[in-house]
């Protein structure tokens, strides 16, 4: 297996390893482990992704025009779904006695956004004829 060693691999990989090392150091020096854990998890994920990307040729990741159009259309609809969710949550929070804490609602908005983006992208890919 051949690994690419251009700047598109080396710079993100060094950042990922830097995050990992910072996370490990922070876990020893900071009383709260919150940021250390996040840095370690993100650093590990980025390192694994970097190793995967380094094994593929650069042309493998170049999106063609159809994929770009699909992503734009899916992002457009996912944006409106997410905005509608935010507006509904805001209306419930403002005009009813139910108070929705952002701590819980934020995760819901994030999951709905990501889920709708990937579902719609899959759907437009299947459907074709954009």
């Amino acid at each position: 297996m051949k690994f690419r060693t251009d700047k598109y691999i080396l710079i993100p990989m060094s950042m990922a390893i830097g995050m990992l090392i910072t996370g490990i150091l922070l876990s020893y020096f900071m009383p709260s482990l919150f940021f250390a854990r996040i840095l370690i998890i993100v650093g590990t994920m980025l390192s694994v992704t970097g190793v995967y990307v380094a094994t593929k040729p650069i042309e493998y990741f170049m999106p063609d025009e159809r994929t770009n159009k699909n992503t734009d259309k899916a992002g457009y609809h996912a944006f409106w779904i997410m905005v509608n969710v935010v507006i509904i949550l805001n209306l419930i929070d403002m005009f009813t006695s139910v108070s929705i804490e952002y701590k819980y609602a934020g995760l819901l908005i994030f999951i709905i956004g990501i889920f709708s983006l990937y579902t719609l992208r899959w759907y437009y890919n299947k459907k074709g004829g954009l």
Binding site: D72, A74, G75, F79, V83, V86, Y102, G106, F110, G113
Partner: protein, 152 residues
């Protein structure tokens, strides 16, 4: 001159009128509510804005109001980029909320809007700030892509 040239947008006129009527009904206490803010005034304001937009659009001919291919492509690109911005902003707010509630960092009064939302009333709640960011991003990106041209 005909009053309505474009039937597509008469739905906006109806929506505006319904909004104004609900707002009036709430202000006259026909509809009860149990929240902290008064929805009547804002509903009437929104209704008037929607009514004006609806009247303007329904009076323009259908051939003029239809967006061309370039505008559609631009809007799609703008709103899919705004989706990314909003997703990042939601994540940032979430991380700030979680970290403040766990007391791992204390930014004091630096980010007053986010650290003490009760001081800034309803206008700067987190949900409203997301909508503000979305509107500003859409306006800025539309201007940028309009200037840039060459939509691919």
């Amino acid at each position: 001159m005909k009053l309505i040239n474009n039937k597509r947008y008469t739905v906006l006129v109806v929506l505006g009128l319904v909004n104004i009527m609900i707002g009036l009904a709430e202000m006259l206490k026909i509809i009860p509510y149990s929240g902290t803010a008064t929805p009547g005034v804002s509903m009437m304001g929104a209704g008037i804005i929607i009514l004006i937009i609806g009247l303007y659009l329904s009076r323009t001919p259908e051939s003029e109001s239809m967006p061309d291919e370039r505008t559609m492509k631009r809007d799609m690109k703008v709103q899919s980029s705004t989706f990314g911005i909003i997703l990042a902003y939601v994540t940032l707010l979430l991380l700030m909320d979680v970290s403040w509630s766990s007391n791992s960092i204390n930014m004091g009064d630096f980010f007053l809007i986010f650290s003490r939302p009760e001081d800034m009333s309803v206008l700067f709640s987190r949900y409203m700030s997301i909508i503000f960011v979305a509107i500003i991003s859409i306006v800025a990106l539309t201007f940028y892509y309009n200037k840039k041209g060459d939509m691919k």
